[in-house]
């Protein structure tokens, strides 16, 4: 950036300027500025959930869109996610105290036979960056790992990743087991991995195929809002 401007004192900004500034700071991955912004809004009496949604999640949505559109790449998004997580760390205990709705909880891992985990790690980091709670099962997970963790953690989403053409079919084994046990509808099932496609996701009975981490985040948010609406209606 060529332009030299005066330092901005966050605490001197009115709310309507501070929030967009925090969006910019998230975009730039400025962790300390995000922590400071969150604390200022708390001092000004903002509800933790309002800070989460309006300052942090809204800012990460801009990041996610620019990632999807090829303006930002993984490194920038991870820095933004790290900044978001730092803000989230301040809010988390307060959110629990105030009984705010949670963004959602996801159990994620690579399927049995698959040791390729970088895609899964990226999705996990970006989901955390969007405010989700992530239970990372690591690599090479048999059916039981997914189902036990999903039940124990009361997860909303089960995410499976596979990079190999030989391990992709195992995703169907997990989903079929969920159907057999009558628990399939308790969870949103999202799948991803380089060799997969939309058609494959449908064929094995997943709720969604995530082409990349940005899509995963958007899809998870979309599923969660529908779930919340259903709960409100039901």
């Amino acid at each position: 950036m060529a332009e030299e401007e005066d330092d901005i004192i966050l605490s001197e900004l009115p709310d309507e300027e501070l929030v967009p500034q925090m969006h910019d700071d998230l975009y730039d991955g400025l962790k300390e500025e995000i922590e400071e912004g969150v604390n200022i809004l708390l001092e000004r009496g903002w509800a933790p959930y309002k800070i989460l949604t309006e300052a942090l999640v809204a800012g990460m949505t801009i990041v996610g869109k620019d990632f999807r559109d090829g303006i930002l790449f993984v490194p920038e998004v991870l820095l933004a996610a790290n900044a978001m997580k730092a803000g989230m760390a301040i809010l988390k205990p307060l959110l629990a105290e105030t009984g705010a709705p949670r963004m959602g909880k996801m159990v994620i891992g690579t399927v049995k036979g698959d040791i390729h985990d970088i895609g899964k790690n990226l999705v996990g980091m970006m989901m955390e960056g969007a405010g989700f709670e992530i239970i990372d099962l690591g690599i090479n997970n048999p059916v039981e790992n997914y189902l036990d963790a999903a039940a124990r953690e009361e997860a909303d989403i089960v995410g499976m990743s596979a990079l190999l053409t030989t391990t992709m079919p195992y995703m169907k084994v997990v989903i079929d087991t969920m159907v057999e046990q009558g628990i399939r509808d308790n969870y949103i099932v999202m799948v991803g991995g380089a060799p997969l496609n939309e058609e494959f996701g449908k064929a094995i009975g997943a709720d969604g195929y995530c082409r990349d981490a940005a899509v995963a985040v958007e899809m998870a948010k979309d599923f969660m809002s529908r779930k919340h609406n259903q709960m409100a209606a039901g």
Binding site: D7, D25, G70, V74, L79, D114, I118, L122, L164, T167
Partner: protein, 337 residues
């Protein structure tokens, strides 16, 4: 003192590298989930067969079975303490097969990514990455590898760390990145940016290029991007045999030997000097590639349209180079000092 690869470069305009390691090992019964590197010790005859498959099909250079042989990857199999043993064995078996070939064959010690995300985005420090790669490089050298072959890298820092490890091990090296995200690596590196990265290294590689990624078409677009950036260094094209397709419950790569033969010839026309395959490429594909490279004349550099006409469509409209380099940027409202 010259190395085996540089000597081959002096007499040859192109070299055929090998095909897939994983695909061929699965065909030999490797069960998914196991570390292929363990076979260097537990099933050495199968690794010999893997290497011999490439050499018999006409490869001038093959990669050792050590792609996941760094401590970070082996840790997933609780074998992080076996880096030296497994990589040494990978290279020793390679040396044995290469020396029996009766003509010069280069043993390239495969070094794959750590699988970790580097600082500041992730947890892996540059120093730790160099150390891990160096540990692996020394073992491959001891086992008799002619060059180190760094592959499927996404992050510039990781590429640099591998380069530094090669320098520490005093080994000549080659290094490819995987351009799998709209013509860029996962970490956003374009073909032009990789040329810039390579030329700024204190110990640049003997050859560099692209491997894996999406399909053969995308890979050649990337090679054209290297050439357009004006590099004089030897280029590597190691593309997948097509794209995996899900058909009737089975998955297979859709690239036929004939398609890979066309790809090989086009890769040479694009300016690649080392041409091979990646995932899905079997000895049958390599034979067709060798025959095509030997019998068909070198042609002019193909256009993008000629590439897609022969090999299929690109996965994305742009690859972030040329006129597209001025990609939309978000205008910053202000910046804090």
């Amino acid at each position: 003192m010259t190395d085996a690869l540089s000597r081959l470069f002096e007499t040859r305009d192109w070299l055929l590298a090998d095909g897939a390691t994983g695909t061929n090992l699965f065909n030999m019964g490797l069960s998914s989930g196991d570390a292929p590197e363990l076979w260097n010790v537990d099933a050495p005859d199968k690794i010999r067969a893997l290497y011999a498959g490439a050499v018999d099909a006409g490869s001038d250079l093959f990669l050792t079975n050590s792609f996941g042989g760094n401590a970070s990857r082996l840790k997933l199999h609780d074998a992080q303490n076996r880096v030296g043993e497994l990589n040494r064995a990978a290279a020793e078996l390679g040396r044995e097969i290469a020396d029996k070939a009766g003509h010069p064959v280069v043993v390239a010690g495969s070094v794959g990514p750590t699988g970790e995300i580097m600082e500041p985005m992730g947890a892996l420090s540059y120093a730790d990455a160099v150390e891990m790669f160096h540990e692996q490089a020394e073992a491959l050298k001891e086992g008799g590898a002619d060059v180190l072959w760094v592959e499927t890298i996404s992050a510039p820092e990781e590429y640099k760390a591998a380069a530094e490890a090669a320098a520490r091990a005093d080994m000549p090296w080659c290094g490819t990145m995987s351009f799998d995200t709209a013509g860029r690596t996962m970490m956003g590196v374009t073909s032009a940016a990789m040329v810039d990265l390579v030329e700024k290294l204190p110990n640049p590689p003997l050859a560099f290029g692209a491997n894996c990624g999406v399909g053969a078409s995308d890979l050649l677009r990337t090679v054209l991007g290297f050439a357009a950036a004006g590099t004089e260094r030897a280029l590597i094209a190691k593309g997948n045999a097509g794209i995996p397709k899900y058909v009737d419950g089975h998955i297979h790569y859709d690239g036929t030997p004939d398609l890979m033969a066309d790809y090989a010839v086009l890769a040479r026309d694009c300016g690649a000097k080392i041409i091979g395959g990646c995932c899905g490429t079997t000895p049958e594909h390599l034979r067709a590639m060798r025959a095509a490279l030997e019998t068909r004349p070198k042609g002019p550099r193909p256009t993008l349209d000629q590439i897609t006409a022969a090999l299929g469509a690109f996965s994305s409209a742009s690859d972030g180079t040329g006129e597209d380099a001025d990609a939309p940027a978000r205008t910053r409202r202000r910046r804090r000092g």
